[in-house]
Amino acid sequence: MKADSAAGVKAVKTKKTFTQKLDTQGVAGYVFILPFIIGFLAFLLVPMIMSLVYSFTEYDILREPTFIGVANYIDMFTNNAKFWDVLQVTLYYVVFSVPLRLVMALLVAMLLVKSTKLSGFYRAVFYLPSIIGSSVAVALLWKRMFASDGVVNGVIKLFGGQGNTAWLGRGDTAIWTLIILAIWQFGSSMLIFLSGLKQIPVSLYEAATVDGANGPQKFWSITLPMLTPTIFFNLVNQLINGFMAFTQSYIITGGAPRDKTLFYTVYMYKQCFTYNKLGYGCAMAWFMVILVGLITLVLFKTQHLWVHYEAEE
């Protein structure tokens, strides 16, 4: 309640009443974001902490967890060849799918940067695959397409080829069906590139034309450097997404053949729910967090080497 005003001139600051406290702008703001905070705590922060705790236990879901210290982590790094295999498979997938996806996105974005009558339609069409993204339906469709009697072989037959390769069954091609699926979903990166392209001042291009620069020179000297912030943003985003890929591997190939398409996340899932080793799975999850975090950190720390922010001039 109000401080005793009898304190006289000393009490310059009076305590606000409770209702007055509720009235301040800050409180209103917190109330508005309360739903999100509750969701964040309940569905993100608390499970993350639980997962960290579980990673130090042995937990088969059906019984109470037992604390075993860092045994899971040690076992993961030293005793499990499959761990390194799935990590390798996932890295292979990321190393190829992310750059190729970005290149596709940039190329198509450059084609669509001019606002012609149909450009809106094309943008929507190219964006569509990435929305329906990593859905089960698309994965099943992809599986049928690349089956030995599927559409892809059908098209090959039309052009006179043999058309009976089992793309999903061969160790060397199975992972590429997944990479191609990732590249096909370049839409969201493309839109971001589009906005980045539109932000490049036209005056730069005009000045270049006056100086006698040709197309490729304009691209390498103006477009690309000005786009580096966008490229950086997309790169970080797509890298994180790439490491988290699950549906494609789980549904399309199930890791076959011979675990050559077994992604890290799918193996983690198997550890948790098929082999009933939730503690081990959580340890794998946290390793992935640290790994992706490190990669992102490296990217951020080295961005000054290649990313050119206009505002810094």
Binding site: T19, A166, P257
Partner: protein, 472 residues
């Protein structure tokens, strides 16, 4: 300030009225009424209970909660049971129909059904167990009941059997035993089953071969060769734990006992079989096999004639025939040359168990009793899960089944005449071993692994897996 209080009051009033509105659904209201039986009508808002009474009257349910009198919970109050099973389209359809029939006959029970296919079932169940929301009635498998029982997830059904809630008069004791651990029953078998090799009779007739009740591996080889030469259809040889186990049984061995000690005796024989067959011209190419999932009925290689045969269990025969859309026939798994004993066995196909966390064990037991012993129910199910365990029911169903079904009955009958007792339930860790087995055999098929070395590696890895799983 005043406006704020007004707004808050109005919002609360709105929220409360919405809650009352929500109660207009019969189940919610009657559930609320049932929940307060012990506390008596006085506690909850008068509006709530009168609404409940009104809705129960409107719904015409018998034994209405009488607006919260101290009726014992479980006597006719609205109960919702959750039921989960794995299956294929045929099983899903008939089981749903059977549940509808039960709901008709027992209007106070609502059954929520859920189903997946085999490959995702145990993962899903584990996830549900972790979340503490296991359904009341869960379909169980002989391979998994040990693990689930050890973690206290299954309710002890002995009291229901003793009290007669689950009537076992017409069920052979051996069937009850197959679902019992330590003398107490935890699972009721839904049917008898046997491993069988399904084959396409049209193709074999075309090739001019007759398939005997059981072939030796040499005979099997000759048959595959002839079929390939005469019709061009290839052969499928399975890579899952069932066929590894029957190979071991043929040699008179217990496979999990071997693997526990890291011995690869039977595994070596099986892997060599796989290697030999994979190199033959009549074997389906490994990359074609990799893109099919032989465990899901609809994608089995036999369905689209990729192969003339398939390895499965007898209760999948109906669904497989339907998916293939043509006449198939059954024979036993090929036996090893000079086999020491008959490898075939009768297996309880699946069980129904009640989860220990279920709040309606009595009602669940009543449903299981009806499911097992009621003739009408089983005339809907038509033995899709296996031959009914109640002998009267089995006789009644057999009389009405169609020809495809009769084949299953006849086959199980044939097997029962020669079957040897089933191995003990699979130990914990079998999920990981199964995955390892499938990947290893895949490697053998592609020629990337040599059978003998693979067997040694497999045995030692399985030993570690079993040790780790058993130590918990």
């Amino acid at each position: 300030m005043k406006r704020k209080i007004l707004a808050l009051t109005l919002a609360t009033a709105m929220a409360m009225s919405l809650a009352a509105c929500g109660g207009s659904s019969t189940t919610a209201a009657t559930k609320a009424a049932a929940g307060t039986t012990k506390a008596a009508a006085a506690t909850t808002a008068a509006a709530g209970t009168t609404k409940a009474a009104a809705t129960t009257a409107a719904a015409g349910t018998t034994k209405a909660a009488a607006a919260g009198t101290t009726a014992k919970a479980g006597s006719g109050e609205q109960v919702t049971l959750n039921l989960i099973w794995w299956g294929n389209q045929t099983r899903n359809d008939v089981t749903k129909k059977a549940c509808d029939l039960y709901m008709q006959k027992n209007p106070n029970v609502k059954i929520n059904v859920e189903f997946t296919d085999w490959t995702g079932y145990w993962d899903k169940l584990s996830a549900m167990a972790a979340g503490g929301n296991l359904p009341d009635i869960i379909q169980q498998d002989y391979a998994y009941i040990t693990q689930w029982h050890a973690s206290n997830q299954l309710a002890d059904l002995s009291e229901f059997i003793k009290s007669g809630t689950i009537d076992t008069k017409k069920i052979p004791q051996s069937v009850i035993d197959s679902g019992s651990i330590g003398g107490k029953c935890y699972a009721i078998s839904l049917g008898s089953n046997a491993p069988c090799m399904t084959y396409d009779k049209t193709i074999t007739d075309q090739a001019g071969v007759t398939i005997p009740d059981q072939m030796t591996m040499d005979e099997f080889d000759k048959v595959c060769q002839t079929i390939f030469e005469k019709t061009g259809v290839k052969t499928f040889y399975s890579n899952d734990a069932t066929i590894l186990q029957t190979t071991a049984r043929s040699l008179g061995n217990d496979i999990y006992g071997e693997l526990k000690d890291g011995k690869d005796t039977s595994t070596k024989v099986f892997f060599n079989d796989c290697a030999t067959i994979a190199r033959k011209p009549y074997a389906v190419a490994p990359d074609i096999l990799a893109e099919k999932n032989a465990e899901v009925v609809e994608t089995k290689p036999i369905i689209d004639k990729t192969s003339w045969n398939d390895f499965a269990f007898s209760n999948m025969f109906i669904a497989t025939s339907k998916a293939a859309g043509r006449n198939l026939a059954m024979t036993m798994f090929p036996a090893q040359n000079g086999a020491k004993q008959q490898s075939m066995y009768l297996k309880p196909s699946q069980f129904f168990s009640i989860s220990e966390t279920s709040k309606h064990k009595e009602e669940a037991a009543k449903f299981i009793n009806w499911f097992t012993n009621d003739v009408d129910c089983n005339l809907i199910l038509m033995g899709e899960r296996g031959i009914p365990v109640n002998s009267d029911v089995a006789a009644a169903v057999k009389a009405k089944v169609d020809d495809v079904n009769k084949q299953v009955y006849d086959y199980v009958d044939k097997v029962s005449k020669v079957a040897t007792p089933i191995d003990k339930p699979d130990p914990a860790g079998k999920g990981e071993i199964n995955d390892l087995l499938k990947t290893t055999v895949e490697g053998i098929r592609y020629g990337e692994l040599k059978a003998d070395k693979a067997a040694a590696d497999f045995a030692s890895q399985s030993k570690t897996i079993l040790e780790k799983a058993a130590s918990k």
